[in-house]
């Protein structure tokens, strides 16, 4: 029987990171970029940094989905940055929703890190050969 392999965990991590990145782009980055540096409520470097991290996350998710090691490593780096950011948010929330959102993000980012470093080995040819025997006969 085929195991729930590591590559599937990588794909789960890729999907979660893509959702988080898209949410960040749509709800935070694009409005901030449109407002411009002068009108932005947050420091503009924060908006640019957030946008850069979201783009990096999307690229990393693409790589992780394609089972590329560089993608998974980049995914780990981006999510480490995000989880630190989410924990920091807990100490300076604007409202109750901000706290809930930060907690959810902490859980999601930890889950992504667990998926990236999770157990299981890359599917070996022997396992695949077992699958092949079932397919070709």
């Amino acid at each position: 029987m085929r195991r729930f392999g590591r590559t599937w965990l990588w794909r789960v991590a890729a999907v979660l990171s893509t959702l988080v990145a898209l949410q960040g782009v749509v709800l935070y980055d694009v409005p901030g970029l449109i407002e411009g540096a002068s009108a932005s409520r947050d420091p503009y470097w924060l908006v640019l940094g957030s946008f850069a991290s979201d783009v990096a996350a999307l690229i990393a998710a693409f790589g992780a989905w394609r089972r590329q090691v560089w993608g998974v490593v980049l995914l780990i780096v981006v999510n480490m940055f995000w989880v630190v950011q989410a924990v920091t948010t807990l100490f300076d929330p604007k409202d109750e929703a901000d706290v809930v959102f930060a907690l959810v993000m902490v859980v999601v980012h930890v889950a992504v890190l667990l998926c990236c470093l999770g157990p299981g080995r890359v599917n070996s040819s022997v396992q695949d050969a077992d699958v092949a025997r079932g397919m070709t006969r």
Binding site: R66, I76, M80, V84, V106, V122, S124, D128, R133, T136
Partner: protein, 425 residues
Amino acid sequence: MTSAQKTPDDDRAPPWGLVLVAAVQGAQAFVVGGVTLWVLTLVAGGSDSPGASSTVAWVVASAAAVVTLPLSFRWIRRGVDALLAQPSGLDVSPFASPSTELDGPAEVLAAMAGTIRDALDVSAVQIQAFPSPIAPLSIGPQVAGSWAAGATATVGPPAGSWADVPLVLAGHDYGMVRVAFRGRSARTGFKSHLLGHLTRQVALVVSSAVLREELARSRERLVLAREEERRRIRRDLHDGLGPSLAGISLQLRALCRQLDPHDPNLTAIDEIHHSVGNATAEVRRVVEDLRPPLLDDCGLVEAIRNLQLVPASLLLTIEAPSPPPPLPAAVEVALYRIAVEAVHNTVRHAAATRCAVELQLDPSNATLTVTDNGCGPHADARPGVGTSAMAERASELGGTVSIERAPNGGTLVCAVLPMRAGQSA
């Protein structure tokens, strides 16, 4: 270095992987400490002495962050190692040491296809081994499941466009490797280059397996032809030259009787008669050396039953089809020699009182088992000349011999010889 010789260091991440481990541990400490501090701050929100509780919260959060670091270090290290050492995790054993003897062609091809699929990260890989391209040697029947009959193995769900690479080596077309890429963009120059290298390895494995099989078949046919030729020469000597010499001897004896006892030629004729007698004895010796005479005189089963070396203390029983079907000369001789050697060993080493010889014949195999109730094989026994000879005789015909402990504690010798040796002549 092959994967079979992998050391633990092969599964370790490169040194810069420690940076990633340290970074993850740092993030973990920050999250654990931060969340702990936030929870404690929340709990102590109504405290009367916020300064003291804040200090306690910082101490507890820091302790939590520090305590959890060693707990997770090994897990994170293992995860980073497995992640960054992925290329060495590729199973190249199907190329390094293909078990073409133990596994059938489909299994060997499937293992190599799996490795190629892992290496190229493609949707599916199919390897086709064509029926043996070395036609002049393939005069025997092609057994299903052999390399000579060809085989195909597919790994992964076929999708996208197939790229076909022929397996050509030394001018022979051994088959084809088909790779299904995930769309056009996935077919990079690097992957095509790597596919070329891997295909050459597949061609080497397939060609060596085909040649090995052809060599074994060729040797079977040689042994079979040799034994058939020996049988024919023995028959010719026994039925042609032998009677001729006997006739000459009789004629000389009659001539001696007709001559005067004082005839000066009598001495010369007597010498000729003596020489003819020597020649007849020599022919008889050659005939007996060519092939065990008992096989032609009374058949395989009776030849085994009439073994003169069996002492009275050993009860020898023989079970065989009656009447036994005609066997190829090579198979018949090999079965006889193996049975003789096995019974010899029982007499000399087993201290047994019973020895059972069983012969089973079916269209594909001849199976000979010799079982005794003696002391059984020694655990540290090394194969001797007789045991090696048994194995060689079986191997010449593509068969096997196993010597193991019988269920009753004695020795069980089992020889399986393929009958196809007799069909391919």
